[in-house]
């Protein structure tokens, strides 16, 4: 079997695995990228969420042969330095408890914010209800998603010094 080539966070990896293997286990056990978590294996909990060409996808329910040639982004590739607005908001709102579900939550949120820069409560419910947080961080998740949206929103241009003076 020829090796399968995966593009993960902008880097190409050749892996020699059973083509049916779920992407989750290839990321975790073959590439040792452990930020993507296993929670259920049946697309129920969202802990394994990654982006495929920008789209939030359950890595536990995606065969590795189906993702060749596609751009895979994992939590490790969300930003180089925890600077994605969702990551900043997660820290600001102190969202994680045990933290095990949060990689998936962040990946779904990142995609949501791209689709809906100003998500409503209904948008948040729709996106995050595919996820489970056993620690019950839901109220903070909701708040942090809104905070992230505000952080990501283009800032109004800084007022000119003259205007500032005039306001006083």
């Amino acid at each position: 079997m020829p090796p399968i080539t995966l593009n993960v966070n902008g880097k190409a990896h050749a892996v020699d695995v059973d083509p049916q293997t779920p992407l989750l286990w290839v990321l975790r056990d073959t590439l040792n990228m452990t930020g993507t978590k296993y929670g259920c294996g049946i697309a129920q909990c969202g802990a394994c969420t990654v982006h495929l060409d920008g789209e939030a996808t359950r890595a536990c329910a995606t065969a590795v042969e189906d993702v060749q040639g596609r751009k895979i982004t994992t939590i490790e590739g969300l930003s180089a330095d925890r600077s994605h607005p969702a990551q900043l908001a997660w820290i600001a709102e102190q969202v994680p408890q045990c933290g095990y579900c949060q990689s998936g939550m962040l990946m779904t949120t990142a995609e949501l914010l791209k689709r809906k820069p100003k998500p409503t409560d209904a948008d948040i419910d729709e996106a995050i209800s595919g996820h489970i947080c056993r620690c019950g961080t839901y109220p903070r998740l909701r708040k942090a998603i809104k905070t992230a949206a505000a952080m990501a929103a283009p800032r109004p241009a800084a007022p000119k010094p003259a205007a500032k003076g005039a306001a006083r």
Binding site: G41, I42, C98, I124, G136, P139
Partner: protein, 734 residues
């Protein structure tokens, strides 16, 4: 709790990496029982925590506590930093490597803050006094003219200043002051305690870098999954591994025996290069099971047994004020109700797993564990090694909730590592985690109450039967079956003159264990809903009835061996605060209702008011307002998070999930049939703290017990329907 003895033991922790002198103070969190045990076992060291001030002024707090998202690696350094007069960020927490000769390592019972508050303050103050003394000697001034501030000692009007880094060497030569004599800060001076310090473990949880047990990678490590008999107590009769061995990446297939002492089921282990290979291999096994003695047990047979036990009159009496039976007989109005709750699984998001490597001369393990010492014991026994040859690293825990105290998964990894010689990571699939757990006991409760003409309760009789945790874990001659079952019910705080509770343990093959808030999860629901029934029957507002029954300040301590004392005025203050913040009494639209409940557990008082909407047989919890008295709040935002988490955990059990048994096995398997609360079902939660200067107590568990009751009392207010079994079912609302 008595003050820890202070002794500096510089021989156990060597000086910092630089080799320069460091100031080290050993102390302990655990109570005197441990010290006694330590002495009996001739442990070389009675301490379980150290403050270690390096020559460069950095501070390490070495402790044996596990981080599972409760913030213990933030809260405890805050307490130390406060007394030590340093920025809390200068304190680095180091997980103590488990060593039976050195540590007592365990995290649970909402106890971390409660048991460490005083020792940590004393340790910080002792170190501060030593540093101050060193500076005073250097300047040849009296120590009481010097003070510690921002990591330095200062003196005099023209302010002489010496940073700790320059004092460590001299201070380390001074005797450690007696902990009971050190001067603690006046709480009015607190700058760190009581503030919202961001948690230290959070950054590593937003970029995938935090290492959970599942994420540990060791050179040469192989992954293993175990096929266990689906019936509790069953065993392998025979198996055929031919197909499993043919699966790509499968390295070994081996039978592992059940270990009664470690409460493991035994089974057939499949070891592979990846988790997936091992799982595929397991799917390819053919196994014939000997299902054993419990193959006919079901939730229905268990319920019948509960009923039979409660129909008898020989339950253990765990509370007996007045004469409840006589008062019920002569009562003007008598109310009776039966409540029941099912088994529940912990289901932390990170399934059980353990990485163990047994070599000839020693063993090493990486455990996401609340009780790594249990794991260490298990490994030592299986490996045939002395405990101190087993090094245990505690990783981050992807949730614990009690389940991770146990070491069954550790023992399995040790068995497989011993047999194969390789470092082994045992992984539970979600199905394994759901079906091979140690469950919150199922229970049945019969309650009777008597009211006088004014609606005032005169008698309360509570008969309870459950699968007893203590009976499962303790040898029959030592077991106290009621001990982890009746808390929160036997010590009911209400002023009811005739109050009786009886308990009868049932027989079951289902393994049981502590589950977030243990028996309080059940008893908070049962007692607070039944009190609501009494209020309704007596036509008294449920808030008003609670306030009346808690009006007289009393201390309730039942049963006598219970360490906790319930103070009715503190509980009442929570009830008042929750009602006030929730707007009790304000009208709600049709279909909506408001309910209240309160509960005392783990030395913390909580009252909650829930607002629900009931429509088309579905309960939606809109809002929960919690009022909490956990003494002085160390990190309010962190404490709030714990209460929020406890409420949502309780709501899953109230609204969504049950573990049921049929043919001796668990019927549920994964989140599709053992459902968890999700974001669209989660309420708005407001947490308010009762201002308090009392000793801090925990918040991990106490938020849970009142929530199901508050919700079901709200359902009654909205619909007139009493929900007496959990989780709520559509037919119970019809």
């Amino acid at each position: 709790m008595s003050a820890p003895k202070s002794r500096a033991r510089r021989d156990f922790l060597k000086s910092g990496a630089t080799g320069a002198a460091a100031l080290v103070i050993g102390f302990r969190f655990s109570d005197d029982a441990f010290a006694q045990e330590a002495q009996e076992k001739k442990l070389i060291n009675p301490f379980d925590a150290w403050v270690h001030i390096e020559a460069d002024g950095r501070v390490r707090l070495v402790l044996a506590k596990s981080e599972m998202g409760q913030g213990v690696t933030t809260t405890l350094p805050m307490i130390l930093a406060e007394e030590l007069a340093i920025d809390w960020k200068q304190v680095r927490v180091e997980q103590a490597p488990t060593n039976p000769n050195i540590y007592d390592h365990g995290t649970g019972g909402s106890a971390s803050v409660r048991t460490s508050w005083l020792p940590l303050r004393q340790a910080g103050a002792a170190a501060r006094e030593m540093l101050v003394q060193a500076a005073a000697s250097h300047w040849a001034v009296n120590a009481n003219t010097c003070r510690a501030e921002a990591g330095a000692v200062v003196h005099g009007p023209r302010v002489k200043r010496l940073p700790y880094s320059q004092l460590v060497a001299a201070a380390s030569k001074l005797p450690v002051p007696d902990f009971s004599k050190v001067t603690l800060l006046n709480p009015k001076e607190f700058k760190i305690v009581g503030t919202d310090i961001p948690r230290a473990d959070i950054p590593g949880k937003v970029d995938g870098s935090g290492v959970f047990g599942m994420d540990v990678r060791v050179p040469g490590m192989l992954y293993a999954v175990v096929a266990r008999c689906p019936v509790f107590g069953g065993k392998v009769k025979r198996f055929d591994a031919t197909k499993a061995k043919a699966v790509r990446g499968v390295r070994h297939v081996l039978e592992i025996p059940a270990l009664p002492e470690a409460h493991t089921a035994g089974g057939v282990a499949v070891v592979g290069d990846t988790t997936y290979a091992a799982m595929q291999g397991r799917d390819a096994l053919t196994i014939e099971w000997d299902e054993g003695a419990h193959a006919t047990e079901s939730s229905a047979t268990l319920r019948t047994q509960f009923e039979e036990l409660l129909a008898r009159t020989d339950g253990t009496v765990v509370r007996n004020d007045g004469d409840a039976r006589a008062a019920l007989q002569g009562a003007g109005q008598k109310i009776e109700a039966t409540y029941e709750v099912p088994f529940q699984n912990h289901s932390p998001m990170e399934p059980m797993n353990a990485t163990v490597h047994i070599r000839k001369d020693g063993a090493e393990a990486w455990l996401p564990s609340q009780g790594p010492q249990w794991g260490q014991d298990a490994i030592a026994k299986i490996a045939g090694l002395p405990g101190d040859k087993v090094v245990v690293h505690t990783t981050l825990l992807g949730g614990g909730f009690g389940r991770r105290y146990h070491a069954d998964f550790v023992a399995e990894a040790a068995q497989i590592s011993k047999a194969t010689g390789a470092p082994i990571k045992v992984v539970f699939t979600r199905e394994d985690d759901t079906q091979h757990g140690f469950y919150r006991p199922a229970s049945l409760h019969k309650l009777s109450g008597a009211l006088d003409a004014k609606g005032q309760p005169q008698a309360w009789l509570h008969l309870m039967s459950s699968v007893s945790i203590d009976q499962y874990w303790t040898p029959p001659d030592k077991a106290k079956p009621a001990s982890s079952e009746v808390g929160g019910a036997a010590n009911l705080g209400y002023a009811i003159p005739n109050l009786r509770m009886e308990y009868a343990p049932a027989k079951s093959g289902v393994p049981v264990m502590w589950w977030r808030s243990v028996e309080h999860s059940t008893n908070g629901f049962v007692t607070e809903c039944f009190l609501d029934e009494l209020a309704a029957a007596g036509k008294v507002d449920p808030l008003e009835l609670r306030l009346r029954l808690l009006a007289e300040p009393r201390k309730v301590r039942v049963p006598p061996d219970n360490e906790s004392t319930l103070d009715t005025s503190r509980l009442r203050a929570c009830v008042e605060l929750a009602a006030l913040k929730a707007g009790w009494g304000k009208p709600l639209p049709k279909g909506r209702g408001r309910g209240i409940a309160c509960h005392f557990s783990f030395d913390t008082y909580v009252a909650e008011v829930a607002e629900v909407t009931v429509s088309k047989g579905v309960v939606k919890v809109d809002r929960v307002v919690a009022a909490v008295d956990c003494g002085r709040v160390i990190n309010p935002n962190g404490a709030r998070a714990q209460i929020e988490g406890g409420i949502n955990f309780g709501l899953t059990a109230a609204l969504k999930s049950a573990i049921t048994i049929d043919k001796g096995r668990v019927e549920q398997s994964n989140f599709d049939n053992y459902e968890m609360l999700r974001i669209d079902e989660a309420p708005v939660i407001e947490v308010h703290f009762v201002p308090s200067e009392a000793t801090p107590t925990g918040t991990g568990e106490p938020g849970l017990p009142p929530c199901a009751a508050a919700v079901m009392n709200a359902v009654f207010a909205a619909t007139g329907k009493r929900v007496r079994r959990l989780p709520v079912r559509t037919e119970d609302l019809a």
